[in-house]
Structure formats: C-alpha cells, structure tokens
C-alpha cells in the first residue's frame, strides 16, 4: 500500500512539473529536497537545522528583527562560499555592510561583489523618506536580478533588512516570482534578508532567527542571537 501511494505521489508530481505547476508543491513533500544541491552556512548548528544548507537554484530567506543574528548568518554563508572558491555577491540596499566585521568572519573579500545602495540618513517618516526607500529597494532588486542573470555566483544575497516593511510590501508580488524564475535551476543560492518573510521560492527555505533574551551576565560577543530553525 505505501508503495502504491508513493507511486501515485510521483505521478502527481510528474504531472504538476509537466504542466509547470510544480510551484504549487509545498515542502511538506520531503522527497523534493532530494537532489537539491546545498550551500552550507558553515555553522554546524545552523546547517543541521537546514539539512545541509540553503538550496541552490532557489530563493531562501533569513528573517528576523534587529540584532537577531541575520547578518551573522549572512557573513557565515559568505565565508563558507568564498572558502570553497565560489564567487559571492551582496546587494546591500541601504549600504550597511561592514567590511571589517565581514573580514573578521573570514569572508574572502576578493571574492565578494558588493553593490552598495544609497546611504539614507533620514528616517522613513521624513518628507520624501518613503520615496527614497522605495527607489533604493527597486534599484537593489534590479541589481540582484542582473547578478543572477550573469551567473557563476555561488551565493547571492539581497539585504533588505533595514528597509521598512511597508515599502517592501508595496512591491508587486510578481517581483519575487520573477526573481524566482531567474534563479530557478541555476547555480547560486539566493538569499533574501528581511524582517519578515517576503518572497522565497517554494523549494527554498525560510530561516527565522530570533533574539535570545539578553542576560546581564553575557558579554557582547555572546549576546548576538539565537536561531529557531527551520520553518519548512
């Protein structure tokens, strides 16, 4: 009986793929992960929860609030990819990347293409602030798209962590579908960094990181964040 059920499931998946409807498949089909190449993060705890790393050819996400450890995850992923000799790219929508701390995290900076967005000094409530954020976000997404189309990158990160979610939500949802189409089946592991989940691929992963309650006995290097993984 289980064999017959598995065969029916495979038939169904084959049919959905043939009709280009495989995006409707959810990750509850654990068999879908088989055959997906992974980009390990390089942190054993995180890789274990991600079942090997972020899938290549898919758009994944790292979401969480400020100081939750998103940047630590990104630096670790970039360091692991550059240590393997891969090219990496970071689209930094609001120019918040800190090169010295990335170098301290063992990122080989010579293999990192850094695309810097504008350094916006004023908040979103100031006159024109929303417009500036919107323009910066659109340009960052275009740059992300260009890098994905160029190929040969192992990891491509789009950092929207400091962009107000109101601005991100104003983007048409087809934006993310288009990006998923571009990256689908390709070599790079795409990664979105944001406050909340916005547009991962159906076969991508969402890694939600969460702040640990700070303890006055902890030093600053230990009070980064804790991770709650994964939400598959």
């Amino acid at each position: 009986m289980p064999v017959a059920r598995s065969a029916r499931l495979e038939d169904l998946e084959t049919l959905l793929r043939a009709r280009r409807l495989d995006r409707t498949l959810t990750s509850s089909f654990t068999g879908l992960e088989a055959g997906l190449a992974k980009a390990p993060v390089g942190l054993p705890d995180v890789d274990a929860q991600l079942r090997g790393g972020f899938p290549r050819g898919q758009m994944s996400e790292v979401v969480g609030s400020r100081s939750s450890g998103r940047t630590t995850i990104v630096h670790a992923l970039l360091a692991a990819a550059t240590a393997r000799g891969e090219l990496t790219a970071l689209v930094d929508s609001l120019d918040t990347f800190d090169a010295p701390s990335a170098a301290a995290a063992h990122v080989d900076l010579q293999r990192l293409l850094w695309v810097r967005g504008p350094s916006i000094a004023h908040g979103p409530s100031s006159p024109g602030g929303q417009g500036l954020f919107h323009t910066a976000t659109e340009r960052a997404i275009k740059a992300f798209n260009l890098i994905l189309q160029a190929g040969h990158f192992g990891v491509v990160v789009l950092d929207l962590a400091d962009v107000p979610m109101a601005v991100v939500r104003r983007l048409p949802f087809t934006t993310w579908l288009r990006l998923q189409r571009v990256i689908e089946g390709g070599e790079p592991a795409g990664l979105l960094v944001a406050e909340t989940s916005i547009g991962r691929s159906p076969r991508g992963l969402t890694l939600q990181v969460q702040r640990r309650h700070t303890d006055s006995t902890l030093g600053p290097q230990l009070a980064v964040a804790s991770a709650r993984l994964p939400r598959l």
């Binding site: 390089g42 942190l43 054993p44 705890d45 995180v46 609030s65 400020r66 100081s67 450890g69 998103r70 940047t71 630590t72 630096h75 670790a76 360091a79 692991a80 550059t82 240590a83 891969e86 090219l87 120019d95 918040t96 990347f97 800190d98 090169a99 010295p100 701390s101 301290a104 995290a105 063992h106 080989d108 900076l109 293999r111 990192l112 293409l113 695309v115 810097r116 967005g117 350094s119 916006i120 979103p124 340009r139 740059a143 260009l146 890098i147 160029a150 190929g151 040969h152 962590a161 702040r211 700070t214 006055s216 902890l218 600053p220 290097q221 009070a223 980064v224 964040a225 804790s226 991770a227």
Partner: protein
C-alpha cells in the same frame, strides 16, 4: 641598392653624433623634442612606403628602403634620390633640408653616409668602402658600438673607419674577439644580415557619416553594431583584441565632438559586449542633440588565450564581468560597486572599494578554525554610514539609558554594556579628519544591541552600528 633617409641632428631631438661635435652648426635651442622626431620619422616612413614595400626602421631617426627594381620605373639612383627629395619636400617643405638621403649598395653604408653627409649622396657599387673610409671611427656610435671599443680604437690611433677596416682581421680577432671582427665588417659597409621589412601597425578605426542625425541610444546602438562588426572581424583575423576603445560622436548642430574612451579590464572582441559597454557608458554621459558622425578607434592588443581548468571553479569571463559591472554602475552609480577592501587604519568602519576582477585562483583564506558554534563568532555589524545622534544618560561613567529622535530607533534602558573602548587617530594628518571616540556596546530594552560612541571632541553621542 638601398636608400637611407635620416633626420639631421637638429631634427632628431638627440645629441648630435660625437664626430660632428666640433662642427655642429645647430644650437641646442633648435632641437626638437624626441616626440617630434618620432613624428618626423613616421612621415619619412610613409614616404619610404610610397616607394617600396621593403622598409626597415633601424633607429628612431632613420628609415632604410630597398630600391631594387625602381630603376625601371624611375631611372638611375640619382633620379630616385631626387624623387625622394621631391616627395619629402611635398610632405614637409619647411623641413625638407633637414633630411639626409644616401643611396648605397649596402644598408650599413647607406646609414653611415646618410648620417654624416647632408643632402643627397650616391655611392656607386663597389665604392662603399672607399666612401666610408673618410668617416671618423666615432660614426660607429650610430650603429650601437660600445664605448670601450671606441676607446680602444682611439688608444690605438685608429681615427677613421678606413683605418679600422684595413686592420688585419686575425690580429683584430686575437685582441677584440669576434665582436671586433663584426664591427670591422660594419666599418667596411658589409651588411650583417638581409633586410627584414617592418610591417606597419594596422589601424583599427572607422568613421561613419550618417545621412541624417540620430537621436537616442537605440538607433545609435545599431550604428555602433554596424561599425564594430567589421572591426572585430579584422581583429579576429589578426588575433588581436581591444585594449581600449575610443568613441567620437559629432553633434549635428554645434558640430562639437563628444569623445568617450573605454579602458577594458581584459582584451576582448565580442561585438555585443563592446556595443553594450559603449551604450551603457553613453547612458551615463548622455548627449544633448543628434549625432551626424561616428568614429571608432580601437587600440589593439594580442588576443587573450584562455586555458580552462578541470579543477578550478568556473568563474565569470572578463567580458561577462565587464558587462555586469557596467550595468551595475549605470544602475547604482560609478563608485557603488566593487570589491570591499580593508584600509590600514583603526578608524571604525573604514573601507575602500576595489575593482571586481574574478579569477580562478584558489581561495586565499580557509575556514581554518573548524566547526564553530553560532555563539563563538565575532560580532557582525550593520554599519550606519550616517551615525544617529543619541542622548545618553550616564551613571558612574557608564551608560544607563540611550534614546534617539529617529523613528524606529527609540532606544531605551541599558540592560548591560561593555566598554569603554577608546580610539583616536589621524590627528597628525592636517588634511584628514581626526577622530577621538569612546565606544560602548550596549543592549537596550528595545531588544537591540548597538555600538555607540561619544565623540570626545564634541562630546556628542552617536549610534554607529547595530550588532546583528
């Protein structure tokens, strides 16, 4: 027979030959620059190529051409010489007298005589040794004779080429070796090797006049493609690629030339890539009006040979990388894309942007610390390029409350803190902006971890980064 066209000492821009030093009629002020001399040589080269395809460029100030066979077309060597003089006069009437012409049976004798004798000199076959005999031995300097040879000849009392040529070769070989014999043959006017014609540098350029002015990039890109196609085909035939590309556009109304020059990161000759790069560059530097004339000038370089490795990770080809960077720069700005580079300073957050050039070199830095826990890493920062001014309440010289006026950055009570870390620098540089900070890492009640500092010069507090 060979003809040598040589610039007179004043036109060479160089020191006159030593044997002319006593009777040098030219003053130092009359000398032209070496660049001008090279320009004059190129004129002479062009004239020589009009007479013969076999042209040699033995030195920066002389041109030798093989005139064998010209007697049936022009006449005797004297007639050929006169024709050369007329051609030089037509090319540069004012300076024609500054060119010496010698026609001789060998190239060496033609060069030596042209160097020494003004005007037109004809040496009949068999007379070259006797013509050279009266020239001073110092004339060999122009052929590259070493100083120690000239000093030795002078010490021996050998003052002329004739005296040098008449020395017995075995005795000369015993004293100076085979080099001495070789120089003696040159002093007799014997050619050491056949003439090796120089191939003129091929120019890869084209100019196109449009029937009516074009406006906008799209029609212009078709024109550029049409111009680049034959140029790149020629480059491929010659195994050359583009090192730099200059585009000249003439505006139809103002008749002004608009010039753009592209330095390519690697030699390339793909038409689509070059056209894309030109268009992206023009996007960033748009023109005001229509264009009625387009010129393309290519600086060629030997083509790139790629040997891919089965072991190395495939990487972006230089063409792809150049196109990607051009697109990103057009989108984000010229200085917004590249490779982050660390700067040799303790200034917080200092960095510079380098050129992104993917290579297949092995990784220089490995994760050598083994598996690490999430919590064993140095803090990763999100840098605020414009630090947020903050108000900080201190107790016992430690921050207990941090608030800002920025929306979304409310701050709050300090749950714990670490610090202070003091740093300062660049106070010794008059042109640089000094800094003097006292930094703290603080965990606030809003849940955030921040790196704050107090500017000890202005006593103002700032939030400079978020620990994330």
């Amino acid at each position: 027979m060979f003809a040598c066209l040589s610039l007179a000492p004043a036109k060479r821009g160089l020191t006159p030959p030593r044997f002319l030093e006593g009777s040098n009629p030219f003053s130092l002020n009359a000398r032209s620059t070496p660049e001008q001399a090279l320009n004059d040589r190129s004129i002479l080269e062009q004239i020589a190529r009009d007479f013969s395809p076999r042209v040699e460029l033995p030195s920066p100030d002389s041109v030798v051409l093989d005139i064998s066979g010209l007697d049936r077309l022009i006449g005797e060597p004297h007639a050929i010489g006169c024709e050369l003089q007329r051609a030089i006069r037509r090319a540069d009437a004012a300076e024609s007298a500054a060119v010496h012409i010698a026609i001789a049976p060998t190239r060496i004798s033609a060069r030596l005589i042209a160097r020494a004798e003004p005007g037109l000199t004809i040496v009949a076959r068999g007379n070259e040794a006797s013509c050279l005999a009266r020239l001073p031995a110092q004339a060999l300097v122009d052929l590259g004779a070493p100083d120690d040879l000239l000093v030795t000849l002078d010490r021996w009392g050998v003052k002329s080429l004739g005296a040098f040529a008449s020395l017995p070769s075995p005795a000369l070989s015993a004293r100076l070796g085979q080099d001495g014999v070789r120089w003696q043959r040159l002093a007799r006017g014997e050619d050491p090797a056949p003439l090796v014609p120089s191939i003129p540098d091929e120019r890869f350029e084209t100019v196109f006049d449009l029937e009516w002015p074009v406006e906008g990039l799209e029609p212009l890109s078709f024109v550029l493609g049409r111009l680049l196609d034959p140029l790149c085909a020629r480059l491929e035939v010659r195994d050359r690629a583009v090192a730099a590309l200059t585009l000249q556009l003439r505006e139809a109304v103002s008749r002004e030339w608009h010039r753009r020059r592209l330095e390519l990161p690697a030699p390339m000759r793909d038409v689509r890539v070059l056209r894309t790069l030109l268009c992206l560059d023009l996007e960033g530097h748009p023109l005001d009006g229509g264009i009625d004339r387009v010129g393309l000038f290519i600086e060629p370089t030997p083509g790139r040979v790629c040997q891919f490795s089965l072991l190395a990770t495939p990487t972006l080809a230089p063409e792809q990388a150049a196109t990607l960077m051009a697109r990103l720069r057009a989108l984000m700005g010229q200085d917004r894309c590249g490779v982050p580079e660390l700067v040799d300073t303790h200034r917080p957050g200092a960095f510079s942007i380098g050129e992104f050039s993917p290579s297949s070199r092995p990784p220089t830095r490995a994760l050598n610390s083994g598996p690490r826990s999430f919590f064993q890493r140095s803090p990763s920062l999100r840098r605020l390029r414009h630090p947020i001014p903050a108000r900080v309440v201190l107790e016992d010289k430690r921050p207990v409350r941090v608030v800002t006026d920025r929306r979304g950055w409310n701050g709050g009570k300090v749950l714990w803190c670490a610090g202070p870390w003091r740093s300062s620098g660049d106070w010794w540089k008059p042109s640089a902006e000094p800094w003097n900070h006292e930094g703290w890492d603080v965990a606030l009640s809003d849940g955030g971890l921040y790196r704050i500092h107090q500017d000890r010069l202005s006593q103002q507090w700032f939030v400079e980064a978020v620990v994330d």
